[in-house]
Symmetry: C2
Subunit: 145 residues, 2 copies
């Protein structure tokens, strides 16, 4: 990589750095997940469905910062593959709780290993302590506001 542009002001903007880190990281993670026929977005929904929390579609939308209509399509895709199921909440029949099937949990476990490896590869320039600190700061940044 040619370093000339690293001296510009843009290279110090967190917004730009986040966008670039995400572009590179997502491309790498998508490629790593391709053998499982998952992408970062579908993996994220599957992982939450397999976590035991049984989130509603509304919760998924808020947490993943996606529109509710996008969650419909993602859940449709996973449901048609037998990886997750919708269960209507008896107390509020508008809500669907999303949970993983045994097949979904198995795939989520495999995918988590792959994503963790992809993360380590993408961040090979950072020490383990730096990765932990980055995780901590990003968690604050991602959930502020």
């Amino acid at each position: 990589m040619d370093d000339r542009l690293l001296t510009t002001g843009l290279a110090d903007e967190i917004e730009f750095l986040t966008a670039r880190a995400r572009a590179v990281g997502t491309a790498h993670a998508n490629a790593s997940l391709a053998p499982l026929d998952l992408r970062v977005r579908s993996y994220s929904v599957l992982a939450l469905a397999a976590s035991g929390v049984d989130p509603t579609q509304r919760e998924l939308a808020e947490f993943l910062s996606l529109d509710a209509s996008q969650i419909v399509a993602l859940v449709d895709g996973l449901e048609s593959r037998g990886l997750v199921v919708r269960t209507q909440d008896a107390r509020d029949r508008r809500s669907n709780a999303i949970s993983a099937t045994p097949a979904g949990r198995a795939l989520a476990a495999k995918a988590a290993v792959i994503v963790r490896r992809a993360e380590t590869e993408s961040l090979s320039g950072l020490t383990s302590a730096e990765r932990d600190r980055l995780r901590e700061l990003l968690k604050k940044a991602a959930f502020t506001g």
Copy 2:
């Protein structure tokens, strides 16, 4: 924000946190830049063109992690508004150096102020020292590999 999902494993994946921080940050920055008829991507090209470095389109593509064909469209848009110009390199006539016009530099300066304010707003949950540390770690993360 409902915190139930923060206890899941996904909430500790840097890939996910980066994607969420970027989604929220970009949406906010795009809204802030709208009065100038810029978005994060077009602003990034304009900022680099106005930096005095006169990058080639190839350098812009690598640095912004965009495909060369996307740079064509972005530069076309800025050029048609009189904000940047293409200058053919005399020594390698395949290359175009992209530089901002006076109007482009003026707009870039205005936009930089807006983006800096948007960044501070997006990261209001972090102290100034934490923002600096995050910037430092993201710089490493964004340019590894």
